[in-house]
Each structure stands twice: as C-alpha cells, then as structure tokens.
C-alpha cells in the first residue's frame, strides 16, 4: 500500500519538476496552473502521511527507525508548500526553478522513505 503511494508521489513530483523546469527554461514565473499542480502533489503527500500513520497504527514498523521515518514523512509533506511560498515571493523564472528543485528533492525524499520503510511490508 505504502509502496504504491510512494510511487505516485515520486511520479507526480517529477512531473511537477519537469513542468516548472520547463517554465524556468521559458523564462516564465509560476502561474495559477503551476500552483494547482503543487496543490495536487501536496495533497498526495498528505494522503501518504495519513496512510503511513494508519500503517503504523496497525503495528507495522519502519526498518530503519521510527524517528527517521517520521522526519522524512513530515519533510516530504512540507517540501512543496515551502517551495510554493518561495515561488510566490520570487515572481521570476527563478521562482519556477525553485519549484522544480522542490519536486526533485521530494522525489529523493521518497526514495529514502522507501529505503527507511524497508521491504517485506504491504
């Protein structure tokens, strides 16, 4: 279950990164549609947060430690909102570049989350 969500978050985060990276390449600031995209990715990370907490509630435990797992989980949920705020403050192509970087960072966080959670879980 969590594996599927991790894949969804990773893919949407990379799509967002490509989209905003393209906007930066085109010398364009983030537009309303970009922010809608950020909202979607953020929503998926929040779903991930809930699913993870439910799994933990069922007694599943991350392989590499609870504290690290929770830290990465919260970090993943905060990454895109933080990038969105920076992008609001920076109404140039660099604001788009920030969101693109945020998407890549989120994908990396998901990769680590997958390792920390470990295999052998549902």
């Amino acid at each position: 279950m969590l594996d599927a969500v991790i894949i969804i978050v990773t893919v949407t985060a990379l799509l967002l990164a490509a989209w905003c990276g393209f906007a930066a390449y085109r010398d364009s600031a983030t537009k309303d549609w970009h922010f809608a995209g950020m909202a979607v990715v953020t929503l998926v990370t929040l779903v991930q947060l809930v699913i993870s907490l439910v799994q933990l509630g069922h007694g599943d435990r991350p392989e590499q430690g609870m504290a690290v797992f929770l830290a990465y989980l919260l970090g993943a949920a905060c990454t895109i909102p933080a990038a969105a705020f920076m992008s609001l403050a920076e109404r140039t192509r660099w604001g788009s570049a920030i969101v693109a970087a945020g998407g890549v960072i989120l994908a990396v966080l998901e990769l680590r989350l997958h390792e920390i959670w470990g295999n052998g879980h549902g």
Partner: protein, 175 residues
C-alpha cells in the same frame, strides 16, 4: 549634485527631470534594494537549497549525535558543523546587505574548503570516517550538491557585488 550621483544602470529609463530630491531618494532606495538583493532572483534559489541543506545536515547530525555518537564522533560533529555553516549562509542570504554578503562569501569559502578536504580525506583515509557525513566523497550521497552549492554561491555573491556599483566610479560619466 544629483547629476553626479546618477548611476548608469542597464535599464536607464528616459527620466523626465523630476525633482532632484525625489530622484536622489529613489536612487538611495535602489542602492539599498541592490544591497539586499543577494537573496532574490538566482539568490532565492540558492537560499532555498541552502535552507534544505541546513535542515538536512542539522537534523542528520542531531539524530546521529544523540543516538550513536561513539560510532563515528568525527563524522557526526563534522555533519553538525556543516549544518551550522549552511544555516549561517541561509540567514545571510535571507537578511541581505553588504555585511551579510561578505559573511556569506566567507562561509561559502569555508564550505568549499570543507567539502574538498573531507572529500579527499574520506577517500584517502576512510578509517577516519567509519560513517558518512554530508561532505564525504565530495557529497556524492547528496548528488554532489554540497560541492556545487558553494561554487554557485561564490559566483553569485561575486556577481551581486559587481551589480552594486560604487558611486565614485560612476562620477563624471554622465554628460
């Protein structure tokens, strides 16, 4: 008087000769804006990335120092130091101004020296680093960003300095 102070900027607008006082005030404001501008444009991207690395390095070292300090004290303390350097640069970029720019310049130099020194040491004398730090192997665990960030930071801070022209240099260039 006001003529002397006029700086040649890239986008010199066709100024309708307004009140000299207002012009001077606008210039002072612009100079101030430029001094603060190390945290805008490309600087804002750097600021964001440094913010991420501050959180990453500091939380990593806090977890490691509090749970398994004796496994690799040097590595964990180094991660903490790296986190502090990142924090200073983040705050300097955010605050802006000439003093902050100089501070950030020093910290980026320290950071670059640290990445290179730890990178070389972690490969040459891996026994000293039983556990990885943010700067081990030139930061390859972090996509080599720890090596690229200070280089980008130094280039950007240098360019930001050149973007703030000294008034004396420009004196007399206006006809």
């Amino acid at each position: 008087m006001a003529e002397d102070m006029t700086r040649q900027t890239a986008k010199a607008e066709p100024v309708t000769q307004a009140e000299p006082k207002a012009e001077e005030a606008a210039q002072a404001e612009q100079t101030q804006k430029q001094a603060r501008s190390i945290g805008t444009g490309p600087g804002r991207l750097l600021l964001s990335l440094y913010g991420v690395f501050t959180v990453a390095a500091l939380s990593r070292s806090i977890v490691q120092i509090s749970t398994k300090f004796h496994d690799a004290p040097l590595a964990y303390v180094l991660s903490g130091v790296a986190g502090l350097v990142y924090a200073v640069i983040t705050i300097a970029l955010w605050r802006g101004g000439e003093a902050a720019r100089r501070l950030a310049l020093v910290c980026c130099s320290v950071e670059l020296a640290g990445v290179i020194a730890v990178g070389v040491l972690s490969i040459a004398d891996s026994a000293a680093f039983p556990d990885a730090t943010v700067w081990s192997d030139f930061g390859d665990g972090y996509g080599f960003l720890p090596l690229l960030l200070p280089v980008a930071g130094l280039l950007w801070l240098r360019r930001a300095a050149r973007g703030t022209p000294a008034p004396s240099r420009q004196t007399g260039t206006e006809a």
